[in-house]
Symmetry: D2
Subunit: 342 residues, 4 copies
């Protein structure tokens, strides 16, 4: 059993982490922090955790996080970068579910996130936690940057093509749709049920923070810069991301075989049979990513469909997967959840 | 490990059973029957079960159900009663998720269900599988009648009051609201998303089949006949039942203590703190029933709020709970699921 | 054409008023106030009003409301009571969509609303704007208290029985379900889509502000105090209220004829055929209330089903209906909207 | 007043036509046919039409459609083509909301729709009813082919660019999302609420019937064949289509000015301000199409966002708009509906 701390347990990625960690066979939940709710039993805020999580929220000061083996940051952007160095110095491994350590180019990060980076030296050492790409480096990571939700779905969908150099890297298109939990558990008007239900919209077309993260990952895979148009949309559901990806093929290839080979042996990537249309609910509440690849009418445009649960493979589940890799546990430990459908 | 068969695996209670049984540590899934889909891999119909259930649907003839230790019927009403006798004779225990064995008065059953009962002798021996009432008898059951969804939520909510004789038994009111999965996975117009979303309606006010089942259970608890007005409603969500129960108190009593004591030690009934309003999502995908009891403005009307997931505690989960009791397993085996929220 | 002002145009009742008034043949929209958004075109906040409403929000100071014939307050509770006197003195009629003038007992109002009333003298003169009860008084009203959403649905459902003295007035039960827009366009966590979708809950069981309003109306109809248990619920839809009402009959009566006679000639109350189950979507976006009355199994409990669109007959539409009565317009002017279904 | 018949009034486009026509100032509804429901009052099937539509469904034989001035076919594909010739011969104008007359190449139509065309000579004379393109021809049409829902949203979005030759016509991408009402009012499992709610999926990626219709329209605009990848998706809402369109610019141009000029004076196309993200709810229940055009990061990929209500501008509303043009009425007659939002 390892001791685990969670900083910021009141958002959606926080409560999802608790759902997963409370059943993890190798984990002891040591502390869950919240400045605003210190003293309140966690299960009072989240009744779904009654009888599962007995802890109360504590202030960061009282949490004694330095006694943990690993600390998850389920906080807004800009928090982990302020606290990670001290924890790392104390021998505590850090998994950040926010964006602080995802972008290697600190100037680029500062431009998109609109703040000065507090720990650029940790950015250099941080490992980007997409296990299907970086499993080896993840094992030894002291600071792990857990990928964003859109970046997970989009990269897993594009990687086989981009790594093999089979599509024009200058004109990639990612049309992505997210459930509303992706916007977080923040009191805002535009995500109220009467605003977001029974409606559909794009947002952030001029530029979204996940764009540089996806570009970085695909450029590493391509071995050169890529051009990407990324359009996120809000769809009236709670959980789920569906990425529809478009690329121009530059060579004839057995796409189905390519994808199956690339993800052979991966516990959490399921390449669907040719002709499939994965639904987001087929991965609901689970850490699975399901992918289907199409070539409509045999033309030169390839269409990839990639679905995840944004709170699991897109956040808390992938973080637990990374924890498992970092600590040498079975990669599926605590993640043996059958998707909830209907 | 026991060998388990499932008859009728293509409806919502069927796929939910498979979700639960596929992770059950003491269960080997031996056969899943479907006349219409024989030969099709189960996971082709339900992609959420990919990598979890490797079986194909088989015809009832090919299923060799007599080799199973227990067979679940996740079939429409009227099927289990035709096949149960033969299985019981072969030493196979039967758990019926439909209504065939729920009503002890066969004439009453035939009136409400509109058909001749095929196995009245099994009705006499069948055990009504509400563990919080009948745990002892369930252990030895050869034929188990798994309760209906509304009856589970309503009985668990009323039982402490009715058993203690604290409310007028002649004028009970159960105003119940169900998610649309309660109507089953049948192609019908009125449960299409464009018909049922963003709308709310009552149905079956003149009389619903769950009325005699609830009355029977409450009469047994009261020791005499009860009068019940039961109004079910369809609410635009996938899963969940919320029962709002009204009774006239005939005596002053500490309601909170009454409920806590009645359900002390129950793994799947959670009496919420005084003043609570349980949400259906707080039990989503889990076998839990959460209950809160109120006495508005200190008047003589008691209001009980009782929530379950209709497909779990209201169907497949309770069936697994009954399986666990029947075979002497840990009552929570295969049911250690943290509710999925949000 | 009359000149109309709207104070507080940024909430749901405000935008709904604008939807209705922008098409009203006898109305000229003169000013829409918002302190926070002054200067912004109304249609920038509500794109659904593009090409329909050309006005900008103005501050209350700049609105010159005293030049209007009538001013609607679509504001939080406690605003209209501060401004109404001055307007009335200037000869402007006031229609308050909030609760300031609904409760005749000022002390009772202050208890439930938690503030000191600023204009008790106007409470005395204000007319409660339920046209099916008070049409004559509404004609001459200078201050009109537009009813609450729940009170509209519940009173219209109970009135025929209560006025005729046919049910036990001491034990009325109103189990009401509302869409989430009833909670208003306020940034709050509990009404975010990921919190409120695919879930169902009761709230305010110990006491809700609409309780005294309903009790007052029913007591007037009964000619004596009534006892009411009122349990509101939040259901995952945008618009709509479904009230399920329970009463104990004290006499045999043709319920269907009673209801049809009571609402004969009413443009906005539709008594459905016997055996009906009205859906909220059958009144969506319209000012209609549809009612069905049942007597399950011929017992002594009567069940009334009453549905409205909470933003229309439960708020803005009823306010326009009252405007029409106050100014001698056709009562359906601006309200000739066919419900939107599906 | 003209006499109007509706063939096939029991589907979503049928009931939506009735919603619009029942308020149309120049229209008398003469007959609504349904083989299956003949004799039933229309308002019994659609309670939203109570007090609005007094007709009963009649059989086609009893409908005396030849006495109408115009007949709408709100039927499945393949019906109008069998009946149109006789009506036209009788001097009745025909508006087909299905696909029978949309594709000029009969062989292509037969390939996609899987049946022999019954009236190829009427295909040749039929006018494709997209008013923003074909207004002049629509005026004199005897047979009007009302466009499909996706084709309306996609063509209106692409037209300004394609007509002006500003994008590469060989690699157009249309990523479109539809509410579930687009699948029709048919009893099918995959559009049940528990299947389609809280989930998102693509469908028909290998080929969808609206593909040749869109290609035909864009080819006419471009003056040559176009290459189009069209991916439709099902999103969990009742109404609405959101088309996200991608093209490669071949020239620098003021996109905003281009769009505003192209749709100047159009009553039902609203070019939103630069930087906008139209929501489907901003057109809900109305005949409006709202469009925004973006050029992310100043690259060479243009992104167009186009939203309609699939049942209005995508079906019944556009059909009424065409009726207005055909009979010389005000183009907005019967369509002066303010979108319903929230």
């Amino acid at each position: 059993m390892i001791k685990v701390g969670v900083v910021g347990g009141t958002g959606y990625t926080g409560v999802e982490l608790l759902r997963l960690l409370s059943r993890h066979p190798r984990v002891e939940l040591a502390a869950i922090t919240s400045r605003g709710e210190a003293g309140m039993p966690v299960a009072d805020m989240f009744p779904s955790l009654r009888r599962r999580v007995g802890l109360k929220f504590v202030t960061p000061q009282d949490a004694q996080l330095e006694r943990c083996d690993v600390v998850f940051f389920a906080t807004p952007n800009g928090i982990a970068m302020q606290q990670a160095a001290e924890l790392v110095a104390a021998g505590v491994r850090v998994i950040d579910l926010a964006a602080d350590f995802r972008i290697r180019d600190v100037a680029e990060w500062e431009k998109w996130y609109g703040m000065k980076h507090a720990a650029p030296e940790l950015v250099a050492e941080a490992v980007y936690g997409l296990p299907e790409v970086n499993r080896a480096q993840i094992r030894g990571a002291r600071v792990l940057a857990n990928p964003g939700c859109y970046p997970t779905a989009v990269q897993l969908g594009f990687l086989p093509l981009v790594e093999a150099g089979l599509i024009d890297p200058d004109h990639l298109i990612a049309d992505a749709k997210s459930g509303v939990s992706g916007a977080g558990r923040k009191a805002e008007v535009h995500t109220l049920l009467p605003e977001a239900a029974d409606s559909f919209k794009a947002y952030g077309v001029p530029g979204h923070r996940h764009l540089p993260e996806i570009r970085q990952g695909l450029a590493l895979a391509a071995g050169k810069a890529v051009g990407l148009t990324f359009v996120p949309h809000l769809t009236p559901m709670i959980r789920g991301i569906h990425a529809t990806l478009y690329g121009r093929l530059n060579k004839d290839v057995d796409l189905q075989a390519l994808y199956e080979k690339r993800y052979e042996g991966e516990a959490f990537v399921d390449v669907m049979p040719a002709g499939s249309h994965p639904e987001t609910r087929s991965v609901r509440a689970s850490n699975m990513c399901r992918i289907a690849v199409h070539r409509p009418q045999g033309g030169d445009t390839v269409v990839v469909l990639s679905v995840i649960d944004n709170l699991v493979k897109g956040a808390a589940g992938q973080a637990v997967q990374n924890l498992n890799i970092m600590f040498g546990f079975d990669e599926e430990a605590g993640l043996d959840i059958v998707p909830v459908s209907p």
